[in-house]
């Protein structure tokens, strides 16, 4: 479990980027729910924590792809692949995240930088 921060430090409507490998984004929605997803958009290198939170949906700040925070699914293009979601527990007023063991869908420009680029 990764300890994020006290819930009181993340007001509703706000997001926090957390350094992990790869980085994650933690959102506190206006409805009071807390979600954690991979921070990097699956389309191109952009931080979803910088994006626009509306309901349970995050819009990428760069190209306006939208993802469902509950499922990680793509709600609007240009993203083609879902983002990973991570289990969140709020206990004793502290947000904790259990990182997903699935393989992340990092965008191709990041993969290329990490030396995992595919050759066509």
């Amino acid at each position: 479990m990764l300890e994020i921060c006290p819930l009181s430090e993340l007001p509703p409507g706000e997001a926090l980027r957390v350094e992990a490998d790869p980085p994650i984004a933690v959102f506190h929605t206006e409805d009071g729910e807390v979600f954690a997803v991979d921070d990097t958009c699956s389309h191109q290198d952009a931080s979803l924590a910088d994006g626009w939170l509306e309901g349970c949906e995050i819009e990428c700040p760069l190209h306006a792809s939208r993802f469902n925070l509950r499922t990680g699914a793509v709600d609007a293009p240009p993203a083609k692949l879902p983002i990973r979601t991570h289990a969140v527990v709020v206990e004793d007023g502290v947000i904790r995240v259990e990182l997903s063991a699935e393989k992340p869908n990092l965008p191709p420009d990041i993969r290329a930088r990490l030396g995992e680029g595919t050759k066509s």
């Binding site: 819009e59 793509v74 083609k80 680029g117 595919t118 066509s120």
Partner: protein, 398 residues
């Protein structure tokens, strides 16, 4: 409507096809494209794809679960819109019958007249263009980029990264002044100098020089440099021409559509014909905020506006009164992310809301008569998103 043809198979055409299905069109859908490739993303062509970070497969716009049930005719340019009989004629002789048409034929890069086939002279619009340019970007080579607009600046940035000696020539006194205004155009283009690119402004290009490597008695076959109108000569192994785009609308002459700088459209993509709408780079929608039609050659417009145009088309060419979001574009140069939304004019009042121009990290707003009309962010994505939303909800003057 039983048969709809989308003419153009890039982002605007694909978005139109998706919107047609999403809005309930269940008839026969044909997508026609002049390139042989399936829809691909163009912005990386001057950046990540040009330097080899992204592959062609990475550029694909369609996802595995796209199921448009469409007939795709690729590698065939449309040559005539025959509205009297409801058909589109293609260069390969095919005739596609359609009750309604979405025009999404895009634009092409403007070339340097007389040097269209000279070796070492490039434009960037297609994957083939970028592949050809990449082969010429050898470390240590001298490249001259004509035009300091966004494409030119991105190519310059990529070429620097690859170790070339880069010079950018801009005819205007300040780069990007039309888009960002004089003051911030100068601020944003200052990154060239700090990254070792020479920027020459306020001087036009007189012509390109070339040499004969193969046949004499023909036009020069390889570029050697650029002559400026002030008499200077810039030696060059590679020249990139980044002087804007030309809408692909010649094929529509005689169709009954109104053509200007683009297909002239109403505020929701409607044309002079009730069963034809136009989207993307080839379309000039009427913009109530400035009281005129203009082409918006941005990726986001090609992504978002087709849904509005399709709603117009399915309603029989009737404007549904949808408020169109202000134009938005981004550019990545020398590791900086530049984002801009809205339309700026020379006399707008500019405020630096956050950061500083000297640090090249700031958020600036443009106001006209006290009203927010545009937002510019340099490496400020979070703040930019908030201001952009505010801009989208600001009332426009009709």
């Amino acid at each position: 409507m039983r048969r709809i043809a989308v003419i153009g198979a890039s982002l605007a055409g694909l978005s139109a096809a998706r919107a047609l299905r999403a809005q309930g069109f269940a008839g026969r859908l044909t997508v026609i494209g002049d390139e042989v490739r399936r829809p691909y993303d163009r912005p990386p062509l001057s950046k990540e794809f040009l330097c080899g970070q992204l592959t062609e497969a990475d550029l694909a716009l369609e996802s595995d679960d796209d199921d448009l049930q469409a007939d795709w005719i690729l590698g065939a340019a449309a040559t005539k819109l025959d509205t009297s009989s409801g058909a589109v004629e293609l260069a390969n002789g095919t005739r596609v019958e359609a009750d309604a048409v979405v025009i999404a034929t895009g634009s092409r890069a403007r070339r340097w007249t007389g040097c269209e086939t000279m070796g070492g002279v490039h434009v960037i619009r297609t994957i083939d263009d970028a592949v050809a340019l990449r082969a010429d970007l050898r470390s240590g080579a001298r490249i001259v980029v004509i035009g300091a607009g966004f494409i030119g600046a991105e190519v310059a940035s990529t070429a620097r990264k690859l170790g070339l000696d880069v010079t950018v020539v801009e005819a205007a006194a300040t780069p990007l002044q039309l888009q960002l205004g004089l003051r911030l155009g100068a601020v944003v283009s200052a990154v060239h100098a700090t990254n070792g690119t020479s920027l020459i402004c306020g001087v036009g290009v007189a012509g390109l020089t070339g040499e004969h490597r193969r046949l004499r008695n023909t036009a020069p076959d390889r570029v050697t440099g650029v002559d400026l109108v002030d008499g200077r000569h810039l030696p060059a192994d590679v020249v990139v021409v980044g002087i804007g785009g030309v809408p692909n609308i010649e094929w529509l002459r005689g169709s009954g559509l109104m053509l200007g700088n683009g297909v002239l459209c109403g505020a929701n993509g409607q044309t002079a014909l009730p069963n034809v709408v136009a989207v993307g780079d080839c379309a000039a929608w009427h913009d109530p905020s400035i009281g005129a039609a203009h082409r918006v050659e941005h990726w986001t417009g090609a992504l978002e506006r087709p849904a509005i145009a399709v709603a117009t088309l399915l309603a029989g060419g009737i404007d549904q009164g949808t408020v169109v979001k202000p134009p938005y574009f981004w550019s990545d140069q020398y590791g900086s992310r530049i984002q801009f939304a809205g339309l700026a004019r020379p006399d707008d009042e500019i405020t630096i809301e956050e950061g500083s121009c000297d640090d090249h990290c700031f958020l600036a707003t443009y106001r006209r008569d006290g009203r927010l009309v545009a937002v510019l962010g340099v490496d400020q994505p979070r703040l930019f998103t908030r201001w952009r939303r505010q801009l989208a909800t600001a009332p426009t003057v009709v």
